[in-house]
Point group: C2
Chain length 111, copies 2
């Protein structure tokens, strides 16, 4: 099982901001009880963090995941620091079977 977190590359976020947003997305997806989450945790909660080039690319991945029935957790920033309010910053996908996650985010580059 794997979780993939996709971060927008077109935003000017520092590494602490990125880490906090990614953690937010990962916690959101991990907190919803399911046997997939349980299995993912028992296997050591594998995660990859990858780039989307902009909001449009991230939204199209979200749409694809939803059409496949894969859990998605989108994060919008409150905008108190660095970003405008309600900016989509990242989204977590899964946890789900590695092959399924790779069909959505497998082509993206690691941060």
């Amino acid at each position: 099982m794997k979780m993939s977190i996709v971060v927008r590359k077109d935003l000017a976020m520092g590494k602490g901001k990125i880490a906090a947003q990614v953690a937010h997305a990962a916690v959101d997806c991990a907190m919803r009880k399911s046997s997939k989450v349980d299995q993912w945790v028992s296997e050591g909660q594998k995660k990859v963090v990858v780039w989307a080039k902009d909001e449009n690319e991230l939204i199209s991945l979200v749409t694809k995941a939803k059409s496949m029935g894969v859990r998605v957790c989108e994060i919008r920033d409150a905008g108190r620091t660095q970003l405008d309010p309600d900016t989509l910053t990242c989204a977590a996908f899964g946890p789900d079977e590695e092959e399924i996650i790779d069909k959505i985010t497998g082509g993206l580059k690691l941060l």
Copy 2:
């Protein structure tokens, strides 16, 4: 309620590596059921990500948190990329009352 995640500044980790380690720590601390976690989630899961200068500083914070009864989740890297196996990379503290977390990590700089 707040969670603080403390990352070692003396390791050569890229921003994707940092984000994945921080997410790992945050998920670990969030997955243990407690009324503090429930309250933290309902309040929007406030997080800060800060630097410790090295392993010794991070270990002393972990020891302090444990002596105060604050939940701590230490992350050690499997060492498949970038780091030696079993390297302590970061730790999450809480979630707990903001004043309590600040007694442990309040003096540290944001990433």
